[in-house]
């Protein structure tokens, strides 16, 4: 590998990780899609359909994304450093990975919402979300697009949150996971506030969202960008001088 290739391998690694992760989890996503389209059909035999099943899948995907960010960095850190990568290169690779993964899942989320919209429309069902003020239909095609437009950003926020916790857990073997305490309520709260709803997960974690859900989507999106940037910087800072653990005999 020449010097220029060495200088850019971090980006190739990040893209490779995103591709490998999407390939690895493609059947999980396919299974989620099948469930989201099959379950409403079953429920419709007994009750009316008012809620978007896909929205629940997308929300589960956010938690899953946090696990992917945290799990990958926790696992890759010793492996990649031992393979001659610097911590800075790994941090950059994780950044590329997070952005590509979030864009891809955002696109899957958007496509699923539109497919579901057509599917629900064919059966005359209502595609809504369980908002704090009751069940709220997502709305027109433009509303659906606007609704889904924030998904890549939210996936990225969850990815950054998971990565911070993953690096911290490697760095401080017994205490790193405690970063869950400040990180999760912030990210979950912003998610709660953005959609004025409770994403899948323990509702009490998103209590911070109750104080800011009147801000409107623009300021909230800006707050999510800021939170994501802070989390990315924190993850990089924790990673940049982390020692590799001693091997257990």
């Amino acid at each position: 590998m020449t010097a220029p290739a060495l200088a850019t391998r971090r980006y190739g690694l990040g893209a490779g990780l995103a591709g490998a992760a999407l390939n690895y989890f493609k059947y999980w996503m396919l299974a989620a899609a099948v469930l989201c389209f099959a379950v409403p059909l079953l429920i419709a035999q007994y009750a009316g359909i008012e809620l978007s099943a896909w929205y629940y899948a997308v929300n589960a995907g956010k938690w899953f994304t946090a696990f992917v960010g945290g799990g990958f960095v926790f696992t890759l850190l010793p492996q990649m450093i031992a393979a001659g990568l610097t911590r800075r290169e790994l941090a950059a690779a994780m950044g590329v990975f997070g952005v590509l993964w979030s864009l891809a899942l955002g696109a899957v989320g958007l496509a699923g919402l539109f497919a579901e919209r057509a599917y629900y429309g064919a059966f005359g069902w209502s595609q809504g979300i369980d908002a704090t003020s009751g069940i709220a239909p997502i709305g027109s095609a433009a509303d659906t697009a606007a609704f889904a437009a924030y998904l890549p950003l939210l996936f990225l926020a969850y990815f950054a949150a998971g990565t911070v916790i993953g690096v911290a857990s490697y760095r401080w073997e017994h205490a790193g996971w405690l970063l869950l305490v400040p990180v999760l309520p912030v990210v979950f709260g912003l998610d709660v506030a953005l959609y004025s709803t409770e994403p899948v997960g323990p509702g009490w974690i998103g209590f911070l969202g109750r104080f800011i859900d009147e801000w409107g989507r623009g300021p909230l999106a800006a707050a999510i960008v800021l939170a994501t940037a802070v989390l990315a910087v924190a993850a990089r800072r924790l990673l940049i001088d982390v020692p590799l653990r001693s091997k257990q005999a």
Binding site: M1, A3, A5, L6, A7, R9, L13, T75, L76, P78, Q79, M80, I81, A82, A83, G84, L85, T86, R87, R88, E89, I240, D241, P243, L244, S246, K247, A249
Partner: protein, 290 residues
């Protein structure tokens, strides 16, 4: 191109505990070094610093004349292989080998050739490998890294004797084909002694000795002959063996001319000291000045 290693006043602390103190060390490029030390002496800590697995508490570490810490052009040419390897246990052997290609010099074809030779099951998950096979996988990845500075930290401990022998031979063949700097950290001293050009002994976080192998062998001697004659020399033996009327002793000091003459006259054969015996003597906690 081989890489040299320079450490200047390097120390490493784990909290309040000093793992290494005041380390000054120069390793020339293109040689095979043995890194010896008792358990907890600081061998792994020292190698971890050279490979930038850890940052030193104080001091300077240069590899190939450049600082090693977070230096992509240097660390990409340095391989530290720890016992058991730094692998993702959920991956297959094949995926683990292929992940090595992040290193510019990694030779995947050679890795598969070695995997075949050492009978590594490519489809098996790393977590399902025996300790021995895991050691082999680590060694394969280390050899195939084709790094300019390759350090094996007790990698061969899990291997059985024939596999270790094959590993040493492959290591030597690779070294002859592509001269580079090799550091072997091991407790199996006598097994590797013939491959080493220089030896570094670490003891209680400090460099105790660093010399070429001949200098070490000249630090003592082995005397073998009739037991009574050997005893009559009155030497302080580090180790001794007896078989019938024949006795062999190891001494940790160079023999003076008079002793050599008396030994020769008594039919005693004088040979070089075993590195392991010397190591045991030098790192004896009860030894003055150690």
């Amino acid at each position: 191109m081989s890489l040299s290693v320079t450490l200047r006043d390097v120390s490493l602390r784990y909290g309040a505990e000093a793992a290494l103190t005041g380390i000054d060390l120069d390793l020339e490029a293109g040689k095979i070094y043995g890194l010896l030390g008792r358990n907890g002496a600081g061998k792994t800590s020292l190698l971890s610093l050279v490979a930038a697995f850890r940052k030193p508490s104080t001091g300077r570490i240069l590899v190939g004349g450049e600082p090693v810490w977070e230096n992509a052009s240097v660390v990409s040419r340095v391989a530290l292989i720890r016992e058991g390897g730094d692998f993702d246990d959920t991956e297959t052997v094949k995926a683990t080998i292929e992940s090595g290609s992040i290193r510019p010099s990694f030779d995947t074809e050679y890795a598969y050739k070695l995997a075949d030779r050492f009978e590594l099951p490519l489809k098996k998950r790393v977590s399902a490998l025996s300790r021995g096979k895991r050691s082999v996988l680590a060694a394969v990845c280390g050899l195939a890294a084709r790094a300019d500075l390759t350090m094996f930290d007790e990698v061969h401990l899990g291997m059985d004797a024939p596999t270790r022998d094959a590993f040493y031979k492959e290591l030597l063949a690779e070294y002859l084909e592509r001269p580079h700097t090799v550091v072997l950290s091991t407790h199996l001293i006598d097994e590797v002694a013939n491959y080493l050009e220089e030896v570094v002994i670490v003891d209680r976080g400090r460099i105790l000795q660093h010399a070429d192998i001949e200098a070490f062998q000249g630090m003592g001697a082995t005397l073998t002959g009739p037991a009574a004659a050997v005893d009559a020399l009155g030497l302080d033996a580090l180790a001794e063996q007896r078989l019938g009327g024949t006795k062999s002793i190891t001494v940790a000091s160079a023999l003076d001319a008079d002793t050599r003459e008396r030994a020769a006259a008594a039919g005693i054969e004088i040979g070089p000291v075993g590195l392991q015996d010397l190591f045991i003597h030098l790192t004896d906690p009860n030894r003055n000045g150690a």
